[in-house]
């Protein structure tokens, strides 16, 4: 790949100019903002913490992309829908009735745990169903075929759940123990953000050990390495793939609960953009790598949160926060052009002939 770019001199030049222009613009904006100093230190801290919390959500969702890509080499476009479906269902059937009956206020921790379990189960169910019906029959098809199917599955689930629960935004009940802020080392942080960060760290550590240490985890890694050889070694590859989807969906389900805690409302379209952003995070960190997904998510979350105020404000862009998504997508484009293997990923050997 690198060799290629060296050869295409003219294009290389254009790309180089493109990259340099963006870096210069970022630096320029940053310097101008720092000189101007429009925000207080507290505002910056808040932005960064919000970014970390947002990044944690991206990281959890990105795990699903990375695991599935690692095993099947497909972008599971419908992954954002796994994230949405679980929390939507749990909110309608569990959280709202619990809140209405007052149970959630009396036993908030048990209540939230029940919600989390139901969310994960529904997300996993949807994931397994999707894999079974839409992906499994297409093993070995040209790579674009499963991608198109995945796009189809994504739209199907979005509008299926819209039909099921209606298109309006639904409130997620609040609990007293999670409202307000706590003081950590002199910094006031929202309790929900603390929860998001702690839960994410625990989940990621747990997942990492599961994949690296357990026999089941090893079967997944074997399937990712080489499906045919894994099959010869007596590993049930279909089961390993189902497990991969299960783990990804479980993480997405947890991300859904955390999302609901932070944003306090949910709707059928909520999975789409976080899904694409999380994919960006996965690519950013190096697709196929679990620590990469975590790092990529964190990086993207902070970048997206801090970026508009830091880079764009200084450039004199009006209402820079509208352009948050542009920052995320520009990152995606830049990474894929200049470092497709991501921050932590190994260079994918490109077999030419």
């Amino acid at each position: 790949m690198q060799e290629r770019i060296k050869q295409i001199d003219f294009l290389g030049l254009i790309l180089w100019v493109f990259r340099t222009a963006i870096i210069v613009a970022m630096l320029w904006g940053t310097i101008a903002t720092v000189m101007d100093n429009p925000y207080s230190a507290k505002a910056w801290t808040d932005t960064i913490v919000a970014g970390i919390a947002q990044g944690s959500l991206y990281a959890l969702i990105a795990i699903g992309y990375t695991l599935v890509y690692g095993v099947l080499f497909m972008i599971n476009f419908a992954h954002g829908e796994f994230f949405m479906s679980g929390i939507m269902t749990a909110t309608i059937f569990i959280a709202q009735p619990m809140s209405a009956s007052g149970y959630l206020d009396r036993h908030p921790i048990i209540g939230l745990l029940i919600i989390a379990v139901v969310t994960m189960l529904v997300s996993i169910g949807i994931a397994i169903l999707t894999e079974r019906v839409a992906y499994r029959p297409l093993r070995g098809a040209p790579r674009l075929v499963p991608l198109i199917t995945a796009i189809g599955a994504s739209f199907f689930w979005q509008y299926f759940f819209q039909g099921l629960y209606g298109s309006e935004v639904k409130p997620f009940p609040q609990t007293d123990i999670l409202t307000g802020k706590i003081n950590i080392g002199g910094v006031e942080i929202l309790k929900t953000q603390v929860i998001v960060i702690i839960v994410t760290v625990l989940m990621l550590i747990g997942l990492y050990f599961f994949v690296v240490k357990t026999k089941t985890g090893k079967s997944i890694r074997a399937a990712a390495e080489n499906k045919d050889v894994a099959r010869l070694m007596g590993i049930d590859v279909d089961r390993a793939i189902t497990l991969t989807f299960t783990m990804g969906a479980a993480m997405a389900g947890i991300a859904g609960v955390l999302y609901a805690l932070v944003f306090r409302q949910i709707h059928f379209f909520m999975g789409f953009f976080p899904g694409i952003k999380a994919f960006t995070a996965a690519v950013l960190g190096g697709i196929g790598s679990i620590p990469g997904a975590a790092l990529g998510g964190l990086f993207l979350g902070i970048f997206e949160s801090v970026g508009p105020g830091l880079f764009l404000e200084g450039l004199g862009v009006p209402s820079p926060h509208q352009l948050k998504d542009v920052i995320a997508f520009t990152m995606l484009v830049l990474v894929l052009i200049f470092r497709p293997q991501g921050i932590l990923g190994e260079a994918l050997a490109e077999e030419k002939a």
Binding site: E3, R4, Q7, A349, K352, A353
Partner: protein, 266 residues
């Protein structure tokens, strides 16, 4: 006879792995010669270096009167007059046989797409001539009447032949064949070998083969280079190669069954 292709000290490394280690050959014009070696010896990597799929880490590749072609893109190498086939057949599977050959003629077609939109006389004439040439090539490789079939619907042997026809369509001076008999039974292999000789005699081009099955190439090659672990371990006429103890060891050592049949090679 002049030298049409000469590689000097060609080396290709992938990280710490040396796939091709200062490999040097001189291919005589209008000859049939072969690079042989056990599976995984680095033969295809060497081909990929010549055809521009890889840039050699070191070394020079000189083609047709002192043109350095190392580091050129595949399309540029083709324009110089080198054309190839692939070990695992790589036809444009959802295009017809004729269309495959037409794509192969790319290098010789000149009309601009604007002319195609307005269907100028020049465009129509060029397309007609190209089609005529494609049908001629199709008949030459013995696929008469199969031209309108999609490439992936053709039988295996026909696909091999079609790939050769597509490679010939660019009117190369040098044709590289990557294990042309892979997957064929002995009869088909012999038939193909006859065809390759006929190709050289009638079209008058130079042919360089890669094979891991020694038996196949002994009959038609004028010169043979033997490759093992990326290095040249022997060169010479088929007779010399057959007697070379290093070659026998390389083949027996790697356990390739084909090596056991050396004596029947002729």
């Amino acid at each position: 006879m002049g030298i049409i292709l000469s590689t000097k000290n060609v080396t290709k490394r992938f990280g710490g792995l040396i796939a091709v280690n200062s490999f040097e050959i001189d291919v005589k014009e209008n000859s049939i010669s072969s690079v042989i070696g056990p599976n995984g010896a680095g033969k295809t990597t060497f081909f990929n270096c010549i055809t521009g799929f890889y840039t050699p880490t070191e070394g020079e590749i000189i083609f047709d009167e002192n043109q350095h072609i190392q580091g050129l893109r595949p399309d540029q190498v083709t324009l110089k007059g080198i054309s190839r086939t692939y070990q695992n057949i790589r036809l444009f599977s959802k295009m017809t046989a004729i269309e495959n050959i037409l794509v192969g003629q790319h290098r010789h077609l000149k009309t601009h797409w604007v002319e195609a939109i307005f269907k100028t006389k020049r465009f129509v004439k060029e397309e007609e001539e190209a089609l005529e040439e494609a049908i001629r090539l199709l008949n030459f490789v013995g696929l008469n009447g199969l031209g309108d079939h999609l490439a992936h619907n053709l039988p295996y042997g026909a696909q091999r032949r079609l790939e050769i026809a597509r490679a010939l369509a660019s009117k190369p001076k040098l044709l590289l064949l990557d294990e042309p008999t892979a997957g064929m039974n002995p009869n088909e292999s012999i038939e193909l070998m006859h065809f390759i000789r006929q190709l050289r005699d009638e079209v008058g081009i130079t042919i360089l083969l890669i094979e891991h099955d020694m038996k196949v190439v002994m009959g038609i090659s004028e010169e043979i280079w033997v490759m093992d672990f990326g290095q040249k371990i022997a060169e010479g006429t088929p007779l010399e190669i057959q007697r070379n103890p290093k070659v026998i060891e390389a083949y027996l050592g790697s356990g390739a069954a084909s090596g056991l049949n050396l004596e029947q090679g002729e």
